[in-house]
Structure formats: C-alpha cells, structure tokens
C-alpha cells in the first residue's frame, strides 16, 4: 500500500522574489534522483502538499509544466506559517513534496479547440503551467488559437514577467495583459478582466475558457463569458478551498459531496452549477 502521507524530499534551488511587493516568491525545487522524478508524474492544474519540516504542510498548485523536466516550480504568497517559512528558506535547503494531487485541466478534451486562458493576479500559477504545456512544440499543433488574458492590480504584481515578454513576441500565443489603473510606462491594457475579456476574447465557437482568479473576478467574468456564448460545459475553473490531507479524507475542502482535493480542483461551470456555492 502506497503511503500518500509521506513527503518526497526535494532541494530548493531557487527562491525568487516574483512581485514588486515581495509577497510572492517563486520556488524552484529539484528532484534528488531520477527515480524520485518518475514517482511524481503530474499534469497542468494539479497541486502538491509542500512541507517545511518543523512547520507543517500546505497545498500549492504546480506552476511548472510537465514539459519542463528536472524540477517543480511553485509561486507562493506569504500568508501563513508554512508559506512564511518557505519565503525565508535559503537555496540548498530541503523541503518535502507530496503529490501530485487532484485532477488537471482537460488537455485531451481541449485538443482541436481554441483556448482562452483568463487569469487574475496571483492565481496565474497553474494557468502558466497549462499555457507552457500547450505551447510546447510537441503539443502546440494539437490546439487551435491560444489566447491568454492576464490582469493584475499593477505591472509590478504580474507574475513571470520575462516569460510574458517572450509570449508577446511569440506568434503561437496571443497575450493580452491588463492592469487596474494606468501608470507611466505601461503599454498593455488598462481595465478589469471582465471588461477586457468582453473586448478581446475570441469567438466562443469551438473555444474553451479556462478561468482562474480571485472570487470577485470570477463573479464578474462569468456573465461576460455567458454573453459571449460560452456554454457552461466549456468554462473551466480551478477551485481553492482550505485543505489538509489532499486525498479526500480529512473532510474540510468539500463543496457539496465533492472534495476539491480529490474530485477537483478543476471543475467545469456546468459541474459547479450542480453543487452548492460553498467555496
């Protein structure tokens, strides 16, 4: 019987300050052996329980893509005991990872379809994983147009700035970035995600929308997608609820009878319509 509670030791090789406010760091973790890496076959949208020995563990979505071998990346905001301890860790320190946990974005179902990825703020992590996965030359041909609409309060709070700059130049992806209010030197759009989505989203024909962001963004983006003609079966969201075990036993992350950790975190809007709004 495989013990799902045991962490895999990994080495922190990079602790990078991602945002201007210094509250979000991106951690690059390296597998200690090829065997360890093989024991962690993951897909975009899945998460892991990351632990700092002596402090505890907490769930985070993988920001890296399985197409980037050798390491895992997590972008983590400093909010609680574990994340604060992580922020203070030095390169070379050991952490524990257990997973991969949860389901993933339906990369097979998306084949042959256009995809619009809509992300707000710090929720962009697993969306980055998905975009990176689809952009991989081996996979790119499987998908139609890929549009990314990504917003943050200000330019300094956007994640993965270098990568965004590269996507700007990449003909395989259509990137639209937006910030809440205008600042000098910003060349992207200004405005909230819902209105920008309404302006720039591709036709809903043969298109899936993948949405991840703060509750208020989701709330106002859903009616826009509906107006644009996206059926609920083609609106995909990733939920977050407080979790502990990650394996559907500890009882806290349920939305109705579904556990976000085991049955999610990825749900279609059609699936969520069947569940109470406890998230």
């Amino acid at each position: 019987m495989k013990n799902p509670y045991l962490p895999l030791p990994m080495k922190l090789v990079k602790n990078f300050t991602e945002t201007e406010d210094k509250l979000i760091h991106t951690f690059t973790l390296q597998f200690l052996s090829e065997e360890d890496e093989k024991s962690f076959p993951y897909m975009p949208g899945q998460f892991a329980e990351l632990c700092v020995f002596g402090k505890g563990e907490a769930p985070f979505g993988m920001a890296s893509s399985p197409t980037e071998p050798g390491f895992l990346k997590f972008s983590i905001a400093k909010v609680g005991v574990v994340s604060t301890a992580l922020h203070m860790m030095e390169e070379g320190n050991m952490v524990g990872v257990r997973g991969p946990l949860g389901n993933y974005y339906p990369v097979d179902e998306l084949k042959g379809k256009n995809v619009v990825i809509i992300g707000g703020g710090f929720a962009f992590t697993t969306l980055r994983s998905l975009a990176t996965y689809m952009l991989q030359p081996e996979h790119r041909g499987d998908y139609g147009d890929i549009t990314v609409i990504y917003g943050a309060r200000n330019p300094g709070l956007l994640l993965y700035k270098e990568e965004l700059a590269a996507w700007e130049q990449n003909p395989n992806i259509n990137l639209v970035t937006t910030i809440d209010s205008a600042v000098d030197g910003w060349n992207g759009r200004v405005g909230f995600i819902p209105s920008v989505t309404e302006e720039v989203a591709p036709s809903s024909e043969n298109t899936y929308a993948i949405v991840c962001g703060p509750p208020v963004m989701i709330k106002f983006t859903m009616p826009v997608l509906e107006k644009l003609g996206f059926p609920d079966e083609r609106i995909i969201m990733s939920l977050e609820n407080r979790m502990k075990c990650g394996i559907g036993m500890c009882g806290r992350c349920n939305v109705g009878g579904k556990y976000v950790c085991k049955d999610g975190p990825v749900f279609t809007k059609a699936q969520l319509n069947e569940l109470p709004g406890e998230y």
């Binding site: 002596g54 502990k244 075990c245 036993m249 500890c250």
Partner: protein
C-alpha cells in the same frame, strides 16, 4: 457456540497472550475502550462507551511519521501500528460505523495505510444490546441491536452466558481456537428470544429525508435550526462516523514528527482560507454541513447514511440539541418560511 460469563476473564486472558485486547473499561462515571492487561478489567455492563471504538483505528492524535531533515537529505520514518488486535465487547452500532469509515479511508483514489493496517489486523467481537437506551435509534438508520455488520463474532447475553454467533471466518477460527462449547438448542432459543424482545423504542422517520436534503440547501430551515448550537464540536468528537482531521508538525527545528489530530466541521477555522475568506462563515453553514454530510453527501458518495444511531451526540450535547428532532424538522421543511 456458547461461553459462560464466569469464563470470560479466562477467555480474554488467553487472547491477551496473543493479541492486544481492547475492551470497555470503567473510567469514573463512564466506560472507554482501553487495552486491557487482565480479563477481569473488561466491563460489559454499560450500554455503550463514552467514546466510540473508532478511536482504536483512528486515534484522536496519531503520529504518521518522524523525520530528520538536514542539508544532505531527509530521513523519514513511517510509524505503522501492525500489532494484532481484538476489540471485545463492541456494540453493533460502533462496529457498523467502521464499515462506513472504510469507504473514506479506502476511497476511489487513495488508501490510508494507518487506518487500514489496523482494520486488517483486528478481530471484532461484538455484544448485542438487550436493553437499548432511550436515545438509541439504530433501526432508523439501517442498523439493529444485534446487527452483525463489521463483526467477526457476536455475543448474545442470555443471562449467565453468552451465545456466540460466528459472523466471519476470522471469528470462526478464533472461537474454535478458544475451544468454545457448542450451544444447545435451548441456548439458541433463548438467544433468539432475547433478540426478539430487545426493542428500540425510538424511531426516527427518515422517509424522504434524502430527497428533501437534495433540494433544501438554500431554504430558510437552516436559518433557524442551528440557533441552539454552540458550535462546541462535542457531537463530532463523540461521533463514531465523523472522520475529519488536521495534520500538524510536532517538531523542534527540523527533527520531529507529523501528527494528525481529530478536527471538526463545527469550528470556524476548519475551512478558513489563508486569504481570510471562509466558505462556511457562520454556525448556520457549519451545522448544515454536518447534517448534509451525514444524510446527503455520504449517501450520494457511498450509498449509506453516515449515522449509526448510537445516540452519543444526543446524550452529550450541552444544549440538548437532539439530532432526531433536527432530522424531523428538516424532513418537514418547506421552501419558504411558514410564519
């Protein structure tokens, strides 16, 4: 088979030499399941233990593994309890609760080795309930005072002896090893008579309850039903089917262990997000969750009600919030306030 009451201590002493034996033991004004070192310690007179037998398989606090983390690596040592056990004197409701919990700890995707190892290595010897309490309602939730689900042997008290019913192969070989005598026809008849006369006086009507819960999540019934509840969580800690837990580190620097502790859906921080958002803001949502989980979500997922009718939550609630009355109330609820 049959065993005389005066032979019970000797029977248990024999088991103790081979197994870790748990039995109800007097603790002040109540009984609890404890490992016993002598057969005379077992107390089979009380109707039910204060805490359910669940804690033997899923302890209130349980070490999962210990670790030692350094720059070079991390040494993780799994702590699995593989000791062979016998639970003696467990009531049918508690035994059935474990069958329900098996669904959770051995779910469609993951197995919990801590719980399942203990389950696999344990023999369950139950005792039927000749005189159920006024708060017992097992027959309303698919159980009965002599239910054998989850048991290997069932004892039926016929006065100065117990008639032993074999339920499983595990139970059969244990009974044979112990050299129990065969029950006479008269003994069997006496046991059958006892079973017939033991009645659960309390019936909770659950007809249509699930259908109601399927539709009434947003109904006003929940605004009122939780009002009495203090959110103390006592019911969840005493419930044989509650399985919520937390995982924490108990450590000094990087040497320590990871521990899981019982947790409760009655507590506000149970679902509190790091951002400060809480999907179950008030006692209303939390109380609704408890009822929904047991009588709807569990039924949706595993086709069973997650309540065995043991009555502990009724007996121990500090404000006498009675789940039987709550269920009746929910069953009669309407989509709009009937003021």
């Amino acid at each position: 088979m049959i065993i005389s009451k005066k032979d019970i201590p000797g029977f248990l002493d024999k088991l103790i030499s081979e197994y870790q034996v748990f039995a109800p033991v007097q603790e002040g004004s109540f009984t609890l399941f404890k490992p016993i070192s002598s057969g005379t310690n077992a107390d089979l007179t009380a109707a039910n233990t204060k805490l359910p037998a669940k804690e033997i398989f899923f302890p209130q606090s349980e070490k999962l593994f210990s670790y030692n983390a350094t720059e070079e690596g991390v040494k993780v040592e799994e702590v699995l309890d593989e000791q062979k056990k016998v639970i003696f004197g467990v009531r049918p409701c508690d035994a059935r609760s474990l069958v329900l919990l098996d669904n959770v700890f051995d779910n469609d995707k993951f197995q919990d080795p801590y719980y399942l190892t203990k389950r696999a290595n344990t023999i369950m010897i139950g005792i039927g309930c000749n005189t159920p309490l006024s708060t017992c309602f097992c027959t309303s939730v698919n159980g009965s005072p002599f239910d054998t689900k989850g048991l290997d042997l069932l004892l039926v008290d016929i006065g100065d002896a117990y008639v032993v019913e074999v339920v499983s192969d595990k139970g059969k070989s244990l009974a044979e090893q112990a050299g129990l005598a065969a029950a006479t026809d008269a003994d069997k008849a006496a046991a059958a008579k006892i079973k017939e006369t033991a009645t659960i006086t309390c019936q909770v009507n659950t007809d249509g309850l699930k259908e109601k819960l399927d539709t009434n999540f947003y109904w006003p019934i929940w605004d009122r039903i939780h009002e009495k509840c203090l959110g103390c969580g006592a019911c969840t800690y005493l419930c044989p089917t509650c399985h919520c837990f937390d995982i924490v580190d108990d450590a000094k620097d990087c040497n320590g262990c990871r521990v899981r502790n019982w947790d409760s859906c009655a507590f506000p921080i149970f679902t509190l997000h790091g951002s400060g958002h809480n999907p179950r803001t008030s006692n209303k949502e939390r109380y609704r969750q408890r009822i929904m989980h047991k009588f709807k979500y569990f039924v949706d997922n595993f086709n069973e009600i997650a309540c065995v009718g043991c009555g502990r939550c009724i007996n121990n609630c500090p404000v006498n919030l009675d789940i039987r009355a709550v269920l009746e109330d929910v069953r009669g609820s309407e989509a709009r306030l009937d003021s």
